[in-house]
Subunit: 396 residues, 2 copies
Amino acid sequence: MDFSIQHEKIAQAVAILAEKNIDCWMTFVRETSHNADPALPLVVPFNLTWHSAVIITKSGYKVAIAGRYEVTNFERMGGWDEIVSYDQSIQPKLVEVLDRLAPKQIAINYSESDTAADGLSHGMYLTLQRYLAGKPYELISAEAILNPLRGRKTAGEIARIRAAVALTDSIIERITAYLKPGLTEKQIADFIHAEYKKEGVIPSWDAGYCPTVTCGAESPVGHVAPSDEYVARAGQTVRVDQGVVLNEYISDIQRVWYLQPAGETSIPAPVQHAFDSVRAAIMAAADLLVPGVQGYVVDDAARATIVAAGYPEYQHAVGHGIGRTVHDGATLLGPRWERYGNTPFGVVEAGGCYTLELGVQVPGYGLVSLEENVLVTDSGVEWLGHVQTEIMVVPA
Amino acid sequence: MDFSIQHEKIAQAVAILAEKNIDCWMTFVRETSHNADPALPLVVPFNLTWHSAVIITKSGYKVAIAGRYEVTNFERMGGWDEIVSYDQSIQPKLVEVLDRLAPKQIAINYSESDTAADGLSHGMYLTLQRYLAGKPYELISAEAILNPLRGRKTAGEIARIRAAVALTDSIIERITAYLKPGLTEKQIADFIHAEYKKEGVIPSWDAGYCPTVTCGAESPVGHVAPSDEYVARAGQTVRVDQGVVLNEYISDIQRVWYLQPAGETSIPAPVQHAFDSVRAAIMAAADLLVPGVQGYVVDDAARATIVAAGYPEYQHAVGHGIGRTVHDGATLLGPRWERYGNTPFGVVEAGGCYTLELGVQVPGYGLVSLEENVLVTDSGVEWLGHVQTEIMVVPA
């Protein structure tokens, strides 16, 4: 088992605790195989069964408290100052450790805004309140820790995301070679799944709709399972939204093709205009994507560009964090809508990895939609893989 | 996509709401691909991204409220009386639907005791409180619904568990043919993973320690990754704990082998005594496993049997529910320890599927441990697959 990413992230967590001046961060979990806390894999790469606490302090002290059958995994992982084992109840040892560390605040994983910081279940929250009743510790949201911890990708994480993007770029080339009129959305999805299988990878999100394949103007847009109802046709577009999990890190890329009928020599004006407008909106977002900018400002720029080009607003964020998952938390490049909570108000930081994505429907032709994966550096955007600068034409 | 299990479980949920006289059950989730609620797959077989609510009432009315890109999946699934779509905030539509249904109580997915009923995150709980501020609805734990809903397996669920157990039985036969002295735990685990791959299945829990392989007396016991440090040796035991996910349902079985040195004609007395005692303890539990018994009573019987035979108590429950996951919630066949909360106090119901498992260390020989998978019927236990009644001997 490779623990390198977790060791990098734990070191980063200690630095962030110091930076934010928070004494202590505790991840409190149980049965994580079906009640996963998205923060846990950042610091512990295996599941935990009984009540377990992973405690990291501002001064760099690291304690794991877990059931007896899980202690060996922590020992093999290494890097823990203390590994505490229990059999019947975690409470006495948890209280003993916390009393000894005596933190003023304990940051725990809940957040109304940021799902990636909201892994603590309500039942576990009630348990913690019961365990710590009468204790002086202030329980606060770990949002301020988890947001930068997930957002600032380490060297190891960036290398893994690059590898996932590179593999996806290669699969896109194979799709281009495969595409032809008459294929159903389901057939195209099956082809892509077969390529994933050859490469030994799984889709970035539910296999049922990763890839999402959209053939022509009638196919519904969204997180929809590809069906045999819609077929790639000459004179229409094909859009594929997909990504792979490689070494636990993901890619998330959209590409668009045009199936050009024999005799047609240029791309129809409405399709070309849509592509140019989508591309311009993505570039408007990319131009503003530098450390320090607030997420919604980046979204606003793309949104204004696509609306100015005569299209309706997209009903999502122009960009979301990518990393261990396709919606990886941290600052969202999204509009100031209620359902996004505070996430669009956060600032972008160097080391952040994002998608930039939007699309428009072209009546009679189909969806024209793009999604690129980028890294934010001190000097701006670095594209993590190939970039689609022209519509891909397949002779039909 | 196959929705048959979810339609079975939704019908069952309506019946349970009537039985428990609870007006309404709501599963309230977002970004379920990394913040999963274990209750969701019982009723909705795809992930949901934005805030989503799945509401089922005692009178059998079923409403799904979800972001616009996920509505098509609900439509394809069918069976919903209402599918409500939104773009910017779920709040207005959620409140409109609840006001119209006017339930006295709304059961939501939190529980200190039962992880399988504790999928609501604390952040989402706070959001719900904010959305429903000033409303007359009483928010209660859905434990009383989810416990029987997970516990009482439908015909479709039992058929799937049987299939997973049958495949595991077949893999156990292949392990018997493969075992020989000199193999490391890691080699044995790799062999099993290769068989899973051939069959197109994944392990029931983390691939890193499913299977768990324990060779000889020195190997640590627990949820531990197999390593090259410990080796199968003549005159020692090999224990494998494993299971597969087949059609989303799992098996979880332990088997034990003895590597018999040339010239040895019977199993050493300490190993045989351990096996007979473990088997007797499992049978003591099985004999009591009928509808209406409390979980801890079943555990007590096995525990008393193994202690009377001169061995230490096992530090876990003698049985846990199996189904969609290896620790599937519902009544636990476990001791009345703090970390198990109320779960050992629940009653066993017909249709419950459980493991029966325990083991003992035999100094100088290794671990002797068994785990069987059973279905509770009105007349008692039905074994879901082969049962290990004798130690398996491999010539060494």
